[in-house]
């Protein structure tokens, strides 16, 4: 059943994105139908989890046939907002910020970088791709004029919370935090973390422990 109104947990949202990715692929290969246990096997899950996750959607499968791939993809896109265009501003024009600005991945998924900002006066005005780095002080006005959605924090850890506060008071809708600092915001502004180095550290730690337990049948896939 459709629990409209209830925010699904992040774990579910994350899986739904993966389902969408897989189903688009299957659909482009010409499959008309997809089964819950096919999705599950591909993504190392159980079919019960897949069916339960899909029950968030206002879309139903057909016993014995499965889910219509094309239509399921559309329902997922709509639910996730993956069919919409989003505006993004990038704060921090260091190596990381530059890389993101030049990386095609954002555009390809509907996230359009509207501007890049930096604190450092000697960086303001420089070119990065087709952008010219703007001063932090311009954020507030820019957002007012353009009604921008999300802010990406590619600044040093020490500066992250301060910048986040500025973005919040400028009316940002959500923050993607790439710094190692913990960033908080009021309830109406979501914060999502994405730190490559932190994931590497996690990998190093996980692998050191799994190496210690020789060949215990693995719980962690």
């Amino acid at each position: 059943m459709d629990d409209s109104g209830e925010t699904p947990p992040r774990s579910v949202i994350r899986r739904l994105s993966k389902y969408l990715f897989f189903i688009r692929q299957r659909s482009s290969e010409g499959s008309e139908w997809v089964l819950s246990h096919e999705i599950a096997e591909t993504l190392s899950l159980t079919s019960a989890t897949v069916r339960r996750d899909l029950s968030c959607l206002d879309f139903y499968g057909t016993p014995k046939r499965g889910y219509r791939a094309q239509q399921l993809a559309e329902a997922l896109q709509k639910f996730l907002g993956a069919d919409e265009e989003h505006s993004v501003i990038l704060v921090g024009a260091g190596n990381l910020g530059k890389a993101l600005a030049l990386h095609q991945g954002f555009e390809r998924h509907g996230f359009h970088i509207r501007a890049i900002y930096d604190h450092d006066p000697s960086v303001v005005g420089r070119r990065i791709g087709h952008f010219r780095v703007r001063a932090m002080s311009e954020i507030e006005n820019d957002l007012k004029e353009q009604g921008v959605g999300f802010g990406v924090l590619a600044v040093p850890a020490g500066a992250a919370q301060g910048v986040a506060d500025d973005l919040v008071s400028a009316g940002i809708r959500g923050i993607l935090n790439l710094s190692l600092a913990h960033v908080t915001a009021p309830d109406h502004v979501s914060v999502v973390d994405s730190q490559v180095v932190a994931r590497l550290q996690e990998l190093a730690c996980v692998s050191r422990y799994s190496a210690k337990e020789p060949t215990k049948p693995g719980k962690r896939k």
Copy 2:
């Protein structure tokens, strides 16, 4: 008590990294002691979670004083392997791979990039910083000679699983997957995901739903 031998869940490992980050900061500011509820408040957790997490360590606090910052930092470093140097190879010399190679963050946390590989013959041999891109076919020998630890997948989604398989058979210890594809590996090789665009999608989805529920006292911080 110290559960040595038990692999701690990834959620705990992730938090422990954050504790380490915070405690180093506190320590560098001159604090001799840290309290569980200080850590908790800073990171939006409860003090019970912090104390329970820290009980994985072979290190104990002192009732009424808290934890010695310097020593707790050392215990965390040792537990997480954050005091060790790690070798990493990078597969994929596109925009993302280039950015990581030039980004100082890896080095600064003890992850040394040993080599960069690419599938495309027209890219092999090119310079990226002080690296020269190597051919995929050289991975196996290189790993044998140098005993490399972790592989970072910065390749297109369609190529990810294939490259992962190659890394596994070459004896890699763990894989950091930056592609949108789901990647699997045998139990003894851990896979950790880190996809910036996926986190942006998550943010867009979360914020769209939190916007709908007007001012219900927020569960999600």
